[in-house]
């Protein structure tokens, strides 16, 4: 199983195999002061063979800071997909997950969300936290 793509958004939800996102691609958060709670709506598109998808899996999310130190605790959830009886031959099965991570940012700078499936690292989603009001170009 692989992470085909994963993106942050200002708002995200997923239901029935479809995702609704507003402001997808956001990568910078501007809290007025630090430390500040940061909320990260993350949508993840998983792909794999149907036989693989219907097995139970564990997906975990970690926040890393600019020193690649883990911020807070890892969050892990189990999931299991229903088989798709109408999938075309040769197509991969897919699962869309929306996870809203929240953590306390104490410093400005780059961070990332690290995604692992069944203990194997799959994707890194970078973002940053700035307290200045003007976005960098």
């Amino acid at each position: 199983m692989r992470v085909d793509w994963a993106t942050l958004a200002r708002y995200a939800e997923s239901s029935g195999g479809l995702a609704t996102m507003v402001g997808a691609g956001i990568d910078t958060y501007y809290p007025p002061e630090l430390p500040a709670p940061i909320v990260l709506p993350l949508t993840v598109q998983l792909r794999g063979g149907q036989d693989e998808m219907i097995q139970p899996h564990q997906i975990s999310f970690r926040i890393l800071d600019s020193n690649l130190e883990q911020v807070g605790e890892e969050g892990t959830l189990g999931f299991q997909s229903e088989p798709n009886p109408s999938i075309e031959e040769g197509w991969e099965a897919g699962v869309l997950l929306t996870v809203v991570s929240q953590f306390l940012a104490e410093y400005e700078g780059p961070y990332s969300i690290e995604i692992a499936i069944d203990g194997e690292h799959k994707k890194s989603v970078p973002f940053r936290v700035l307290t200045s009001g003007e976005p960098e170009v």
Partner: protein
């Protein structure tokens, strides 16, 4: 185990994973409880706001 159709909230302070629907249900039962806003990003202030300050 969660369904792929559920949105879940991960609190990295504790590693707790909670379906958002459960949080919203709890909010309906206990309106006095502080409930995290699950899907709101912090955005840069508008220029107008900065000028007003």
């Amino acid at each position: 185990m969660v369904s792929p159709s559920e949105v879940v909230l991960i609190d990295h302070a504790t590693g707790t994973v909670t379906p958002v629907d459960d949080i919203l249900a709890a909010a309906l039962l206990d309106k006095a409880r502080a409930v995290p806003t699950a899907a709101v990003a912090v955005l840069p202030p508008d220029e107008e706001d900065i000028e007003n300050e």
